[in-house]
């Protein structure tokens, strides 16, 4: 599977994703500059964490209107997949590729900590290697990760099974105490209606080696690799 890791001015998880993809799961990967519109030779585009354009306006607001993001609908239309983590999730919401918005953490402080996520939807290319209700451990690192959407949108997300990850306890219980940023419904990650764009605040690339404290993040990549069928097209589920 050919991966592209997008680099905006101010991106900093680009090298980490690149390292995990090339050195841990050993797949072809290249950096994609934010001005690039050509995504022809890629199967999966990763929008990594960081502070694109300093996030001085709103997190992800400027990057959400960049040439590479404008090229994503066409990339998706021909069967591509998009994974946005942390700032990448914020950018996807700003670009309208995912519903809702990421707001300032309820505690009004930056939070870098380990979190547990309960898997709500395993019918996606990013989670098909997981069991429903499985609990994953992954760190977060953000100041603006409180997921918010209006009541209608959240209801629709639930109905269409678009909520993929929710913050939970180590036992998988969705509680207020397990919610690190005040996200509505403890939402940590969602997918678009078509099941091709995943956004999540946690960092799977930081949980991809046992030396770094865990490998649960790798399960997302394993799901992706498993979803590419032999003739090179994506399996439709």
């Amino acid at each position: 599977m050919r991966f592209g890791v997008v680099v905006f001015p101010g991106t900093w998880s680009d090298c980490d994703f690149h390292y995990v993809i090339s050195e841990v799961i050993r797949q072809p990967v290249k950096y994609v500059w934010h001005r690039d519109r050509n995504l022809d030779d890629l199967d999966c585009v990763v929008l990594p964490g960081g502070f694109s354009y300093g996030d001085y306006l709103r997190a992800g607001a400027v990057a959400g209107r960049s040439p590479v993001v404008e090229a994503l609908p066409e990339f998706l239309a021909r069967g591509g997949l998009v994974l946005g983590s942390c700032n990448g999730f914020q950018i996807l919401c700003e670009a309208g590729l995912l519903p809702g918005a990421l707001m300032r953490n309820e505690c009004l402080q930056y939070r870098c900590q380990s979190t547990h996520l309960v898997v709500e939807n395993v019918e996606t290319p990013f989670t098909r290697a997981l069991r429903p209700g499985q609990v994953l451990q992954m760190p977060i690192s953000h100041g603006e990760g409180k997921y918010h959407a209006d009541v209608e949108t959240v209801r629709a997300l639930r109905q269409r099974n678009q909520i993929v990850f929710r913050y939970a306890t180590a036992e998988g219980k969705v509680t207020k105490a397990a919610n690190p940023n005040g996200s509505i419904d403890n939402i940590a990650g969602i997918i678009n209606e078509e099941g091709t764009v995943l956004g999540l605040m946690p960092h799977p690339e930081r949980a991809a080696e046992s030396a770094m404290g865990g490998t649960d993040g790798l399960l997302l990549f394993h799901s992706l690799l498993g979803s590419l069928v032999e003739d090179g097209t994506f399996s439709k589920r």
């Binding site: 502070f51 300093g54 930056y110 690192s141």
Partner: protein, 746 residues
């Protein structure tokens, strides 16, 4: 806009800019004429204590600076050590105390920004930040505001830039209330043969200004940092710079790309005294001169004078001497990162700095003159009051009636308690190198592509140095190195940040001189070169000086990252041993301060040979896989070290807590044995099945050591002889430690 009329150059003006009458005379003699206003500005900045180390130079020469791993010693933007397999580690610590007191958020943020630039100007990618902070009592709302501002500022700048904050310490004492300390250490990695230096080589080479535009912020920052504060300190807020971590991130990427492309000959960060400093220091190192045209400098305000352009401390700027003929390549790289890169002059011969502003020559001075700041060898003397302080016998105070309660109280003291409130606001993992997160004795970061890892720690105990500057400073070196050894790493080198009061007072200068001797002695004994650092003097407000606080940063090397150790107990039924001597003292201890409000007494003796051997023994035991946890005994003594080993794994690593049952030797009063502080002491947990091997290794190491007990259960139980003197549930212990600081900040 009409240009501002320049003031007439007089002695009074020179004085108002921080020069003394003697220094002003010296400028006139050296130039053979009165300086112009702009020239006076150059001298006032470059001859400030902050830039010229006037009062400290004679002492700093005492520090050992060489060693087989040293690739770069003091005198450059940062020091560099060879860590093998073609890699070098670049590191330095720097203070931003004065700005952080005036404006905590921006002061601390730009402190982070400044030290990051020091590292990446050397060609290294920053991989770790550590913050050594000192404040007054967190129960005081004004102190809380400072803490919140400083921590937010560090968090904002480091997180946005994308360098993890992996360690450091925060300590509290009333002496820091009017003068908090913000010391930031940064560590970077670079290929050993790709280190860049701040030199202006090659007459005719173009000089490029790159990065942020210049504004009026931070003018006279260096001069401000070279004076004490009074009640009007807040009026100096305009001298604090404003940071932009996003631009710094772009500057990092653009500089590293430019360096890799071969267009960079020399590069220096525009830190203190901005352009003035770069345009004089770079040619001074190379014996060349420089001609610059200030009109070309990118500006974000209108009508800036030559004086303002030279002395502005606007952040995120660099001066690059580029290879002639490669100008276009350099400009293209910076354009890609959307940054200015403008040629403002060239390297010249003849050794003069010639500054023009829109064609008019505004300064023309021999660079040597700017570099020849006076060096003072001022008188110093031990203060008379010290003898009385040292004479105090802590054992004249009553013993606690309940030792368990005393331990809980000590664990809840803000200096000892968990600092998770601060650390969780910092990104600790970006770069995916952090193998040991903040909270253990040292942070550990892997070197990708090798089996190696580096361990880093900062330490410094102002109370110890106050009571005995020489031994206290030596203890700081030993403790930082011991922390690194407790991670299993061999300490390789030191960076020091020397925070003191006004050197114009003989007693403060004595503290400084003695502290340097102590650092030098310890560094020689442990074979640690001091490869860089920073001196921060004049840490006084309204005549009250801080505790003398040398902060020592140590970098160590683990050849096999798989063989690292952390401080917390991993499971039950392991044997607990104490390595090192029994000698401890309550003098200057955290216990004496927390319980009795006293800062007095004598420190425990320090034997540097024992220290060296204990550290070697700890490393050998970790390297042989005999030890499952290693924790240095520091503030709070043996009892606190044991309690921390029992409970800190829960917060740091999400592990269960592990109790312990130990028997301590009846060697003096219980409070002294439990809470007394002394050097060269490490608590380790030993795999029970390998007890004999451990004993053999200790015998071979020729160090004092003893078995204390076993891990397990859910209580921290300490016996003295046959009597149980502490018996606490681990939950209670953990709660006290976890909330001791945070309860003030919530």
């Amino acid at each position: 806009m009409t240009p501002a009329v320049e003031p007439k150059v007089t002695l009074d003006l020179a004085r108002s800019l921080g020069l003394t009458a003697d220094e002003y005379d010296r400028v006139i003699k050296r130039l053979g004429r009165e300086p112009s206003y702009t020239e006076l500005g150059l001298f006032s900045a470059l001859w400030s204590e902050h830039c010229a180390y006037k009062h400290s130079k004679v002492f700093l020469r005492r520090l050992p600076q060489s060693g087989r791993r040293v690739l770069q010693g003091p005198g450059e933007n940062a020091g560099a050590l060879d860590i093998g397999e073609g890699w070098a580690v670049v590191f330095k610590i720097e203070s931003h105390n004065h700005p952080s007191f005036i404006e905590p958020f921006q002061g601390a943020a730009t402190g982070v920004g400044g030290i990051l630039r020091d590292i990446f100007t050397m060609g290294a990618r920053p991989i770790a930040l550590l913050d050594s902070l000192r404040f007054g009592d967190p129960a005081d709302p004004r102190t809380r505001r400072l803490i919140d501002g400083v921590v937010s500022g560090i968090s904002w700048y480091g997180n946005c830039f994308g360098c993890p904050t992996v360690g450091g310490e925060i300590a509290f004492a009333p002496e820091y209330a009017g003068n908090p300390l913000v010391n930031v250490m940064c560590v970077g990695l670079v290929r050993a043969d790709r280190i860049f230096r701040a030199r202006a080589e090659g007459v005719g080479n173009p000089v490029f200004y790159v990065g942020n535009k210049t504004g009026r912020d931070g003018i006279h920052g260096a001069t401000m940092a070279s004076a004490t504060f009074d009640e009007h300190a807040e009026e100096r807020r305009p001298t604090v710079q404003v940071g932009d971590p996003f631009t710094e991130k772009l500057l990092l990427e653009a500089c590293l790309e430019a360096m890799a492309s071969g267009v960079v000959v020399g590069i220096q960060d525009m830190g203190a005294a901005g352009l003035a400093c770069c345009t004089s220091e770079m040619p001074a190192r190379s014996g060349t001169g420089m001609v610059v045209e200030l009109g070309a400098v990118p500006q974000r305000e209108e009508g800036m004078t030559a004086y303002e352009l030279l002395l502005s401390e606007s952040q995120e700027r660099m001066l690059i001497v580029a290879a002639q003929g490669r100008e276009k390549a350099l400009q293209e790289i910076f354009a890609k990162w959307e940054l200015d890169a403008v040629s403002i002059g060239q390297v010249s011969d003849g050794g003069d700095l010639v500054v023009r502003h829109r064609g008019d020559e505004v300064a023309h001075v021999p660079i040597e003159a700017l570099a020849e700041a006076p060096v003072y060898d001022k008188p110093f003397a031990a203060p008379a009051w010290l003898i009385e302080r040292q004479a105090f016998d802590p054992l004249s105070l009553a013993e606690p009636t309940d030792y368990g309660e005393a331990l809980v109280e000590l664990l809840a003291s803000p200096t000892i308690a968990s600092k998770q409130w601060a650390f969780r606001q910092y990104d600790q993992q970006v770069g995916i190198n952090t193998l040991v997160l903040p909270g253990s004795d040292a942070a550990v970061l892997r070197v990708k592509g090798t089996r190696r890892a580096i361990a880093v720690s900062t330490d410094g105990n102002g109370r110890h140095v106050f009571l005995d500057p020489r031994r206290g400073a030596a203890l700081a070196v030993c403790e930082a190195a011991r922390n690194v050894s407790c991670a299993g790493a061999e300490p390789l080198g030191v960076t020091d940040c020397l925070n003191f009061g006004s050197p114009e007072r003989p007693d403060i200068l004595w503290q400084f001189a003695e502290a340097i001797e102590g650092i030098a002695e310890a560094c020689r004994a442990l074979e640690l070169p001091v490869v860089g650092g920073n001196v921060s003097l004049y840490n006084e407000t309204s005549g009250a000086a801080i505790l003398p606080t040398p902060v020592i940063g140590v970098v160590g090397l683990l050849e096999d990252a798989g063989l690292l150790a952390t401080q917390w107990f991993k499971g039950a039924d392991e044997r607990i041993a104490l390595l090192g001597p029994d000698a401890v003292s309550l003098g200057g201890s955290e216990y004496l301060w927390t319980r009795h409000g006293q800062l007095a007494g004598r420190l425990a003796p320090l034997d540097l040979e024992t220290e060296r051997r204990v550290q070697a023994a700890v490393r050998a035991a970790i390297g042989a896989g005999l030890v499952t946890a290693a924790h240095d005994c520091a503030e709070g003594g043996l009892a606190v070290a044991l309690a921390e080993a029992c409970v800190t794994g829960r917060e740091m690593a999400g592990r269960g807590m592990v109790g312990c049952e130990v028997t301590l030797p009846q060697d003096g009063r219980c409070d002294q044995v439990l809470f007394g502080e002394g050097p060269s002491r490490v608590v380790v947990a030993v795999d029970a099945s390998r007890q004999r091997e451990f004993e053999a290794l200790m015998a071979e190491s020729a160090i004092p050591w003893r078995w204390l007990g076993v891990t397990g259960g859910d209580r921290v139980r300490v016996r003295m002889g046959a009597i149980t003197i502490v018996d606490l549930g681990v939950d209670r212990v953990e709660h006290a430690w976890r909330n001791g600081f945070e309860r003030h900040m919530a």
